[in-house]
C-alpha cells in the first residue's frame, strides 16, 4: 500500500533557525530517509521550498503563494510503500516533523489495479 506523508510545519521558524539546530534537523531527516530506504519502505520524498515560492493554478488564473493563513505550511513529503495503515502510522510517528509540526497520512490510490 502506498501512503503519502504530508509534512506540515512552521516554515518561518525554519528560516529564522540558528545553523546548529538546522543541521540537527537536517541530520534527523537524512537518517529518517535512510531508515525508510533500509526497510524498503521509501518510494519518494523531498523537502519543499518556502510556500511564497509556490503557485496555484486553476481555470481562473494563477495565484502566488503563500496560500493559507495558518502558521503551518506544507514543507515536504514522503511517499512510502508499507503493509498497512498501522505500519504507515508507525513510520509517520518517527518522522522528525511529527515532533514539531504534524504529519498528515493519506492512503494513495493504486491506479494500476
Amino acid at each position: 500500500m502506498n501512503y503519502l506523508f504530508l509534512l506540515y510545519d512552521d516554515e518561518d521558524a525554519w528560516d529564522a533557525m540558528e545553523e546548529a539546530k538546522r543541521n540537527d534537523i537536517f541530520g534527523s531527516y537524512m537518517a529518517y530517509t535512510e531508515a525508510l530506504k533500509k526497510s524498503n519502505a521509501h518510494v519518494a520524498g523531498a523537502p519543499l521550498n518556502h510556500s511564497r515560492e509556490g503557485k496555484r493554478i486553476r481555470q481562473a488564473g494563477v495565484q502566488d503563494g503563500p496560500f493559507a493563513d495558518g502558521k503551518e505550511q506544507l514543507g515536504g513529503f514522503y511517499l512510502v510503500d508499507v503493509k498497512d495503515l498501522d505500519e504507515a502510522l508507525e513510520w509517520a510517528a518517527r518522522c522528525p516533523c511529527a515532533s514539531y509540526g504534524y504529519v498528515e497520512v493519506r492512503p494513495a490510490w493504486n491506479v494500476e489495479q
Binding site: D24, G27, S28, M30, A31, Y32, T33, E34, A35, L36, K38, S39, L85, D86, L89, E90, A93, R94, P96, A98, S99, Y100
Partner: protein, 407 residues
Amino acid sequence: MSDARAAADETARTSYGRLLAWLSSRTRDVAAAEDALADAFNAALETWPERGIPQSPEAWLLTTARRKLIDNARRQKTRADNIPALTLAAEEAEAAISNNSPFPDERLKLLFICAHPAIDETIRTPLMLQTVLGLDAAKIASAFLVSPNAMSGRLVRAKRKIKSAHIPFETADKEDLAPRLTAVLEAIYASYGAGWNDTSGSESQRSGLAGEAIYLARLLTKLLPDEPEGWGLLALMLLAEARTNARCTDGQYIPLREQDTNLWNLDMIKYGETALATAWRLGEPGPFQIEAAIQSAHVSSMLYKKNVTEDLVLLYERLVELAPTIGACVGYAGALASASKAEDALKCLDGLDARRTEKYQPFWAVRAHILSVLNQTDDAAEAYDRAIGLAQDNAARKFLLEKKSAL
C-alpha cells in the same frame, strides 16, 4: 451540577472496573454491560443534581445498570434467556449492598478474559485499559499509534468474540493459570511501554499510561498476592517510573549515569524494592523479577556508588535464558559492552535475526555504541543514523546526533 459530575467522575475512576467486571461476569457480555453502565452514568448525571448524590453511588449505579441490562435484554428477544440470570444477579447485588458489604471484586476474571488465548494479542492491552479502567478508545488509540476509528472497531470485535466464543468468566485452574498469567502480565506491561520508546536512548516521550499500568499491576498483586511475577512486574515499573523526572531536562535526554538522583522519586524506589523483596521471598524467579532486579541494580549503582557491571551481565544472562526477547538480547549486549567485553557484545548482536532488528531502535543505538567503542567509526556512524532515523522524539535524536558527531 458540578458536585454531581465530580461524584460521578470519582465513582467512575475508582469503581468503573469493579462495576463492569461484576456486571459482565454475570451477563458474559462485556459490550452489553458497558452500554448499561454508560446509561447508568448518564442517568446519574441527570438525577444526582436534582435529588442529591446517593449515599452509596456505587450501589446506585449498579442497581441502575442492571435495570438497564434487563430492559435491553427484554427489548432484544434474543437475550431473553438471560433474564432469569440477570434478575438473580440483581437480587444478589442488592443483598450485598443492603448488607453494607462491598460487592465481590471480579476484576481478576476480567483481566483473564482480556488476555484469553482466543483474543488477538495486539488487542489485549487496549481491551484491559477499556474494561478495567474505563479509558476511552481515542486515548488508547493514540497511545498505541492506531487511528481512533480503527481502535474502536478492534475493541468492538474483541468484545463480540468474548461473547460468541463463550469465553468463560471463571478464573482458570492453577495449571491453566500460568500461561494466562503471563499474557495478563505482558498486556499490563505493554500499557506501560505504550507510546514511549523502550530504548535507553529515548525514554522521554510519555503517553500518560504509566500510571494506569502501575495501577493494574497493583490490582493484580492485590488479587493474586502469591504470584511472584506480579510483584516483579510491579517492582519493575515502579523502579523505572521513579526516574522519570531525571530522564529529560529542557528537551535533552539524560542517560542514567548522568542523571541527577535528587530528581528521583525515592518513595517510589522504596516501594519498588519492597515489591521486589516480596517477589523473591516467594522463591520462583521469572523474567519480570529479573528485569526488576536489573533496574534495582542500576538504581543502587547510582545511589550507593556500587559497581554493578558484573551483576548486570549475570542478570541479563539469566534473563536471556528465561525469555530471549529482542529487548533482553540487546540489553545483554549493552551489559557486556559496559563490562569491557565489546567484542562479545557485537557477536551477541550479530547473532540476532535481521528481520527482528530492522526497525528496533534500541538495537541500532546499542550497536552504534559498541562499534564506536571498537573504533569501527564508519559502521558506528551508519548505525547511529539508523537509530536516529527510527527514533520517535527530538530528545533522543539530539542525544544520538551528538554521539555521532563525537565519533
